[in-house]
């Protein structure tokens, strides 16, 4: 069955892993390069890996029984490397000014991307799980990376211990699913579950519930989200961005693929639970966000809210919903990175991250304030920006699957979210700055920011190209179902 493994299919991952080692070595032996350039160097590797993964565009290969290299994987590889490259660039000055051991820092980021790639590519649960742990471990370490920062320690500790705890739960679920279906292959599980399951339903449902819980933790769904705010607040800001973008995207890449391939036959059994999680997540995330005083924490809660919307795509699972989910996720990632870029820039300038300390940003760095405003409006789902179009399509997909009520709830909380974004915008535009001087402009970060904002506009104004790509990608995970089950569920006349 697996006598000849095409290792070449994993070239991007090897490149990343190798590059990670290379970065560490460079850091060790060529201190003269400078901490800042190390980040750029890392970014180059990441971009190269991303470019490499483009080889398999419109291709459908399988790495043994372990991983698929198809459009879905390619899409996420590109997305993850994109996130990684951005984070590396954004980290450069931050790491230079505030962190020790830059080589390891970038290496961990690169390895995290490997993990994320594995999660998206995985064809079965073991690979997925190990990849998940790779990603998680990297993030644990990175969260605690500011070793003399008490909040970083604490965030790392909470993240790590709870992560391990939820991993155990998740594994227990996997075990039960494995025990009941006899396989860890998504497709096999799907096949078994579409047959008669009356004899194994106890174990199967318990396993499913535990898996949902475990995945819920990874994507930060309420009530498994508790670590999120603390980890976000504690982590170095670029890492906060990384968690919010990479961990979430990878989590959903995994979640989506797993549920689309393996658990789709049971969709009527679990969709309302996911819907419930979605509602709880949207509600708590958005309501508590109103109360936050720290920008990172605010964005943490806002990302929890976003998870609620994304879960809606899972609850309404069909190819449409999956495409919509991925589209929204891409939009969210781009937007969130843009927001974090601004936050990082501000932190690099001033070392401040409380909301009230943002007062007068519009005076001192109008462009950053503008971009942050755009990003926040996009997160709130205002038009012209990505959030509106993607949310519209996502919620519409849910409504299409008879989940109108859920779409309504989501739309409502999307509105609630506007309030706390406006609070931050208010500080920037209405607060009087303590000093009037303009900040100097770091061109690289500004370029990255401009690119991200352009992305926000592109997705907001003309998402079709992106959507086409996404649709091709999601088609690969629904291929086994031939959309039949989806067709039944849609109930479109």
């Amino acid at each position: 069955m697996s006598t000849s493994l095409e290792w070449g299919l994993l070239a991007p991952e090897f490149l990343l892993a190798g590059w990670a080692a290379f970065i560490i070595l460079i850091d060790l032996f060529w201190g003269g390069l400078g901490k800042e350039r190390l980040g750029w160097l890392a970014a180059i590797g990441v971009v190269a890996a991303g470019g490499l993964s483009l080889i398999w565009v419109n291709d459908a290969k399988q790495f043994g029984e372990l991983a698929d290299i198809n459009d879905y994987t390619t899409l996420f590889r590109v997305l993850f490397t994109g996130i990684g490259a951005t984070i590396c660039i954004l980290s450069a000055r931050y790491v230079r000014d505030r962190l020790l051991n830059p080589g390891e820092y970038y290496a961990l980021i690169l390895l995290a991307i490997v993990g994320a790639n594995g999660m998206a590519a995985a064809h079965e649960l073991l690979t997925a799980y190990i990849s998940l742990e790779l990603l998680s471990f990297s993030l644990y370490a990175l969260t605690a990376y500011a070793k003399f920062d008490l909040r970083s320690n604490e965030g790392g500790l909470k993240y790590m211990l709870l992560g391990a705890f939820s991993s155990a739960i998740f594994l227990y679920g996997i075990g039960l699913i494995y025990g009941t279906t006899g396989s860890t292959q998504y497709a096999v599980i799907g096949e078994v579950l579409s047959g008669d399951t009356s004899d194994i339903e106890w174990g199967m449902y318990l396993g499913l519930a535990l898996m949902i819980g475990g995945l819920g933790f990874k994507v930060a769904a309420v009530p498994f989200h508790m670590y999120t705010p603390d980890a976000y607040e504690g982590a170095p800001i670029p890492i906060t961005a990384l968690i919010s973008a990479l961990a979430k995207a990878a989590g959903f890449a995994f979640f989506l693929k797993l549920f689309a391939v393996a658990f789709l036959p049971l969709i009527d059994d679990w969709r309302y639970f996911i819907a419930g999680l979605s509602v709880a997540t949207m509600a708590l995330g958005n309501l508590v966000a109103i109360q936050q005083r720290n920008v990172k924490r605010l964005l943490a809660y806002s990302s929890i809210g976003q998870v609620g919307y994304l879960l809606l795509g899972i609850a309404a699972l069909s190819q449409d919903a999956a495409s919509a989910l991925v589209l929204h996720m891409i939009g969210y990632v781009v937007t969130n990175l843009a927001a974090f870029t601004c936050v990082i820039l501000y932190y690099n300038w001033t070392g401040k991250e409380e909301i009230e300390e943002y007062k007068g940003l519009a005076e001192r760095a109008p462009y950053v304030a503008l971009c942050l405003t755009i990003a926040l409006f996009s997160l709130a789902g205002m038009p012209l920006f990505a959030g509106f179009a993607t949310k519209f399509i996502l919620f519409q997909a849910a409504a299409d699957q008879d989940l109108l009520w859920l779409a309504a709830v989501a739309a409502f909380f999307s509105f609630v979210s506007l309030y706390y974004y406006l609070i931050l915008i208010r500080e920037m535009y209405l607060g009087e700055p303590e000093e009037k001087t303009r900040f100097q402009t770091p061109w690289l970060e500004y370029t990255a920011l401009t690119v991200l904002i352009a992305g926000v506009f592109l997705i907001g104004l003309y998402p079709k190209p992106v959507f086409n790509v996404v649709e091709d990608a999601t088609a690969t995970i629904f291929v086994s179902e031939e959309l039949e089950s989806g067709e039944d569920l849609v109930g479109v006349p």
């Binding site: 372990l66 020790l100 961990l108 390895l111 471990f137 370490a141 194994i200 106890w202 174990g203």
Partner: protein
């Protein structure tokens, strides 16, 4: 009760006792020792499950490395000196939750009609394991090595003392 079953119950009792000890011992060092006991019990369970390889791994990795690490950590963090009770105020609710979970799980696993031969464990040879580990499961294997590397990097970076500490 067959002879094997008897052995199982003994081993299970030891394991559970160990586990219980871990979570209720008043002394951290005792907890650690109970953990070793539980781990060894689990190793024995693996033997019962005809997976000697796993039992060996268990003993080596856990009984050796992990517990030593834990004990070191305990000493370094002077756990014994910390004031206050060992357990948090959550105890009743934790007990309740754990019991409910146990009940649910036990109910679920006993109610499930497991497919396959649930009466007898099949012996899987160490060679077979070795072979699939490097072929079929090559990718997780590689990734697991990366996980270890991450863990290593993380541990070194974080635990290493810097100047002035």
């Amino acid at each position: 009760m067959t002879y094997e079953e008897a052995i199982f119950y003994v081993i299970a009792a030891v394991t559970v006792a160990g586990g219980l000890g871990v979570v209720i011992a008043r002394n951290v060092i005792h907890s650690a020792l109970f953990l070793i006991m539980a781990l060894l019990g689990v190793a024995a369970v693996y033997v019962l499950l005809a997976s000697e390889f796993l039992a060996i791994v268990q003993v080596l990795v856990y009984g050796g490395a992990v517990t030593i690490l834990i004990l070191f950590a305990m000493m370094l963090t002077r756990v014994r000196d910390t004031a206050g009770p060992m357990d948090g105020p959550q105890r009743p609710i934790a007990a309740l939750a754990a019991t409910i979970f146990l009940g649910t799980t036990v109910l679920a696993v006993t109610q499930t009609e497991w497919r396959g031969n649930t009466e007898e464990a099949t012996v899987i040879s160490i060679y077979e394991i070795g072979e699939v580990l490097f072929t079929t499961w090559a990718m997780p294997f590689e990734i697991a090595s990366l996980v270890l590397m991450v863990s290593l990097i993380g541990a070194i970076v974080l635990a290493r003392g810097e100047e002035g500490e």
